[in-house]
């Protein structure tokens, strides 16, 4: 019973509209880290899952271009909610020129960006760096 009350921060929210990218993350993260993945395919689902799992989320890994709204909109919604404002973000993008636009639109500019296509080790290193936790 006691264990059930402990809310583990062991989930990574992955936001991307491409099914094959979810397949890849669903393989890498559970196999090479201690974290679980929850999947969102658009911004609206990401915000809803963020609220539902606020106590369990340790990280959001989000694409910038999404079908409904951009990744930085999700980020700013998370930052304005006291339950989710401490959850760190990593943005992934396929376009290097998006970084400037992204940083202009963020409340806190200190976020990590990883460029697609990335190597497994690059992803694991950046997750480890952001969570300050060797994987």
């Amino acid at each position: 019973m006691k264990n059930e009350n402990i809310q583990q921060k062991n989930m990574i929210l992955f936001v991307d509209d491409e099914k094959i990218c979810h397949s890849l993350i669903d393989l890498i993260i559970p196999n090479f880290t201690k974290y679980k993945v929850i999947n969102a395919y658009n911004g609206e689902d990401a915000v809803a899952l963020g609220k539902r799992y606020a106590n369990n989320l340790c990280l959001v890994l989000s694409d910038i271009m999404l079908p409904d709204f951009n990744g930085y909109v999700i980020y700013n919604i998370f930052k304005k909610n006291e339950k989710t404002n401490k959850i760190p973000f990593i943005f992934q993008s396929g376009i290097i020129s998006q970084e400037l636009e992204l940083r202009k639109n963020l409340i806190d500019e200190a976020v990590e960006i990883i460029y697609k296509p990335y190597k497994q080790q690059e992803l694991l290193s950046i997750i480890s760096k952001v969570l300050d936790n060797p994987i």
């Binding site: 491409e18 094959i20 990218c21 393989l27 689902d45 079908p67 396929g94 697609k116 190597k119």
Partner: protein
Amino acid sequence: MLDFIMNSIKQTMFMTQNFKNITDSMLFFAKMSHELKSPIHGIIGLSEYLMNNWNDIDNYKKKSCIDDLHSTVFDIKHLIEKLFQLTILTSNNIECNLEKINIIELIETVIEQNNRFVGNVSCSVLLESEYQKILINIDPFWIKQLLSNLINNAIKHSGAKKIKIKINCQKLGLGENLVISVIDDGCGILKKEFDSLFYPFQQGSNVNELLKGSGLGLSICKEIILAHNGEIWIENNQTKGICVNFSLPKSEVSL
């Protein structure tokens, strides 16, 4: 393959010259590039994962990865084909080969082909017409393409279980028109999105992300109908789903 893609890009550049301004054109290229790059990044990532971890992955996961790679490559092929079709249609390279065709027979053929290819999805497509024969001057290739796009949209992207195709004559603008309606009972579309869906890469916001298509189907339909001097529009059904109507000028019709 590379030649094909380069030709498609050249044609697309020609097509975008018809856009109202440079922003429309840049937006189109940005969206096209995103739609092509995203799945390719996934393919690179997943194939590298397979190469690097091959001996540590069980057979079930290997098969699932290969299935994902295969279906993503087919999605890209489908997207390129649709882009090519849209490019041909918009750049005025299309020459409608008009033939006097019994459109009832043509619709029945499309329904039959569709039922054969849809396979295990349970969806019935019915034709409702008081006529057995309506002769009209159309290009059968493009009108078949249009009907297939509309039926596929309803089944694959809105999860419809019943589709009805209705034919009637209506007065639109100056003259009488043959109006064909594809009515589904799927998830529907928000009214504010009715017009924007005819632009490339626009999709209904309430469609399940996993069921989304190329976002080009309705823009292709619009270009086909414009080439036939007709109109195409969307309406909500009273109960559930939507109705996509297209008109063909009646001067070309003989009952």
